[in-house]
Symmetry: C2
Subunit: 141 residues, 2 copies
């Protein structure tokens, strides 16, 4: 009745260390599509990095953020922050002073998303060697 029947108990046990819940049954395919769109929007490179530094440092200004998110261009940082604000992941506070001062901090929603990505981050750091080994094997034909 469950889709995991073709895996060994050992494999499933190991997988459970990463799982925080069983996959939702996802009755309505439209929900699936929306969820998938949302994941695509939210799972991109810069969003993940911004999530990470804001979780670590709380509230940051634009220039400070651009220093901490290594390699990001002004254009991409602005774009990413606007999307995240629109999705309710962070709040943008403008202080009407000269020179301008704008602060960004995560909302509760942003914080929980960061936590959800944590599992993927942990997986990646734990399995880095295994992936690299697989690549070497593959590349050697």
């Amino acid at each position: 009745m469950n889709g995991l029947a073709h895996f060994t108990a050992e494999e499933i046990k190991k997988a459970r260390r990463y799982a925080i819940a069983t996959p939702p049954p996802d009755l309505d395919p439209r929900i699936g599509a929306l969820v998938h769109e949302l994941i695509g929007r939210v799972a991109d490179k810069w969003t993940m990095l911004v999530l990470e530094v804001l979780t670590e440092h709380g509230e940051l200004r634009f220039t400070r953020l651009s220093e901490m998110v290594s390699g990001v261009s002004q254009k991409m940082l602005t774009q990413t922050l606007r999307h995240m604000e629109r999705d309710g992941l962070l709040v943008r506070t403008v202080h009407p002073v000269v020179p301008p001062k704008v602060e960004y901090r995560l909302t509760g929603l942003g914080l929980t998303l960061g936590a959800a990505f944590c599992g993927v981050w942990v997986w990646a750091s734990e399995n880095l060697d295994e992936v690299e080994q697989a690549r070497r094997t593959f590349d050697a034909r």
Copy 2:
């Protein structure tokens, strides 16, 4: 000493429901870079969908996969499968018959990655409404 000091206990408690571990301290920045590259490689649209259908259905042939991963082109499916094979996420079995028969199934590594993405999937399905509400509010200026 921990970066979560600027959030309320309530927010952190909610976040913990998604977290399966605290973020790794990530001493070496090179590790961080590698992990990030790996996440970027692995977190893309088609990889996530292939992971999902293979977790659900076990072993599948190319044509069957292309039917189940809705919207994927032959080109992208081939490309995604090759990358996943190279990274050790799945095994590709070629049966030397005519017409050709090729089967794909996840490795243990692939299964654990699917589990790790589970948290993000759950977050997305649980918070879909809240994100859509935030967007409406934002778009209304």
